[in-house]
């Protein structure tokens, strides 16, 4: 299968690859997928004042999965939590020119974003209930 230039670029030069400490304040972590299915994405956001100031990913999966999560971290940075929740997998498909058999990679990236946002929201809830 021929990959789009953008996929190849993300593969060779992954953006924001790495990890935050999960228990760090303001960090939300989403891990989706399963090794048996051939892809696992870990996506993390760091939030300050409701704004995503940094994002990181690590992905086990094909080139399209790596590119989808790498692109997602680029898009997440600078967005508010609410804006981040509106990122759609179809936008990733479009940006990376993913073929139909690779659409599930973009779905996984969207799921990873949602999982990271949920984790962040949960941590915030615990924090506010602890402080009240």
């Amino acid at each position: 299968m021929a990959y789009s230039e953008k996929v190849i670029d993300h593969y060779n030069n992954p953006r924001n690859m790495g990890s935050f400490q999960k228990d760090e304040d303001g960090v939300g972590t989403g891990v989706v997928g399963a090794p048996e299915c051939g892809d696992v994405m870990k996506l993390q956001i760091k939030v300050e004042d409701d704004k995503i100031v940094d994002a990181k990913f690590k992905t086990f999966g094909c080139g399209s999965a790596i590119a989808s999560s790498s692109l997602a971290t680029e898009w997440l940075k600078g967005k508010t939590v609410e804006e981040a929740g509106q990122i759609k997998n179809t936008e990733i498909v479009q940006e990376l020119n993913l073929p139909p058999v690779k659409i599930h990679c973009s779905v996984l990236a969207e799921d990873a974003i949602k999982a990271a946002l949920n984790d962040y929201a949960k941590k915030e809830e615990v924090k506010s209930s602890a402080s009240s």
């Binding site: 990959y3 891990v31 090794p35 048996e36 299915c37 051939g38 690590k58 992905t59 094909c62 999965a65």
Partner: protein, 404 residues
């Protein structure tokens, strides 16, 4: 050294220049139909076909009359299995094969199952080998055929063909062997192995694409099959159609070269294969060999690189032609059924790469491949959340994954 590097010789091989040279006159000057009995053009072609048939038969220790030309091993597999079942259906309706056969065999048996034929699929052990006792236990009084491959196209494991042949003979069951990956690479003697039918193909042994053969035993027992293609009664009535004389000549030459060069070539290729394997495992941890440690084809190396996905790995070494058992590289989105049958976990099946070394592989290419694989695996492991978790001491099997 030229790029890209071809290291996918299980898939196909380049034509040996000596094979091409032998074929060329038969496209133009010597273009006769080998079935034309009335003029010199036909005689010339017939003589060339006879010679090729001898060269091919010699490679597997058969008689040249026992070689039936087909379009390739897929056709040979279909002809053997369907042809035997149709011919001997009154004697029984049960056939035995293994779960790791090539698709050409498995799809043929599946199609027969739809027609009411009973099929037993023998399991394989961790090294991909069938146990002859399992075969013995699967036999019923209705069993007419067993079909087992000589060597696996994915993991290179060589099955205990001689033992299976002995049991088959003892029980009066016909034995078809798909020899596609083994013939020309390892010594094959159909008498010694006790094989009654054997499929193989030219393009896996540096011959042209589009031609294969089915060995059909003529004595003890005389095997009969119902043809799938009717016509002029060519190939002893088992496979009609004008013979592609240039391809036949090329096939013959390819077999002759394999026979002459095998003793030296197989050692040279196995040494390069081991050099590749050692180069990789000396630099990387958690790399697992799929297949049998000793009983395997000289040019085969199938490795799983834990925590990285096969297709992503291929992408990282795209100037090297390789193949992966990862789901992402298959049309079905399922990881390799062969690796799954060995009990390799889906995760490691997704991480598998098949290296296929051949006649034209060089040490320089091997060293380049080692270097590129190490870099690509390290690049992907650095990116892999699984590698990170494993290094933190988390047992990946204990994690509740959100499967999708």
């Amino acid at each position: 050294m030229k790029l890209p590097i071809y290291m996918d010789n299980h898939s196909t091989t380049p034509c040996d220049p000596r094979v091409v040279e032998a074929m060329l006159p038969f496209f133009t000057d010597k273009f006769g139909n080998s079935a034309s009995r009335n003029h010199s053009f036909g005689w010339e072609a017939e003589e060339a076909v006879d010679q090729a048939r001898k060269q091919i038969a010699k490679l597997i220790h058969a008689d040249s009359k026992e070689i039936i030309f087909t379009s390739g091993a897929t056709e040979s597999d279909n002809l053997a299995i369907k042809g035997v079942v149709e011919m001997y259906r009154e004697k029984g309706d049960h056939i035995i094969t293994s779960s790791t056969e090539h698709r050409a065999v498995l799809d043929a048996t599946k199609s027969l199952e739809k027609k009411g034929v009973q099929v037993t699929y023998l399991p394989v052990d961790k090294a991909g080998m069938i146990n002859p006792d399992d075969f013995r236990n699967a036999i019923t009084d209705k069993t007419i055929l067993i079909s087992i491959m000589l060597a696996s196209n994915e993991i290179g494991t060589i099955h205990p063909i001689q033992e299976i042949g002995k049991i088959a003979k003892e029980k009066g069951i016909l034995f078809h062997c798909d020899g596609t990956q083994g013939v020309g690479k390892i010594p094959v003697d159909v008498q010694e192995l006790g094989v009654d039918l054997m499929s193989f193909s030219a393009h896996k042994i540096y011959g042209p694409k589009g031609i294969g053969a089915l060995y059909v035993r003529r004595k003890a027992p005389r095997v009969r099959i119902v043809p799938m293609i009717d016509g002029g009664g060519h190939e002893r009535g088992m496979r009609s159609g004008t013979l592609p004389v240039p391809l036949v000549v090329g096939f013959g030459k390819a077999c002759e070269l394999c026979e002459e060069e095998m003793p030296v070539e197989s050692i040279r290729i196995a040494a390069m294969r081991d050099r590749l394997h050692e180069g990789i495992i000396n630099a990387l941890d958690e790399v697992y060999l799929n297949g049998h440690i000793t009983q395997r084809l000289p040019g085969n190396l199938n490795l799983s690189f834990a925590y990285v996905e096969g297709e992503a790995l291929l992408m990282g070494v795209k100037e090297i032609a390789l193949s992966s058992g990862s789901a992402c590289t298959s049309a079905t989105l399922e990881p390799s059924y062969v690796l799954r049958a060995l009990g390799v976990g889906s995760d490691l099946a997704h991480s598998s790469i098949r290296f296929g070394l051949g006649r034209f592989t060089t040490n320089e290419e091997v060293d380049y491949t080692v270097d590129r694989m190490i870099k690509a695996v390290n690049h992907l492991r650095e990116m892999s959340p699984l590698y990170e978790m494993a290094k933190e001491g988390i047992d990946l099997k204990s994690v509740q994954w959100a499967a999708h």
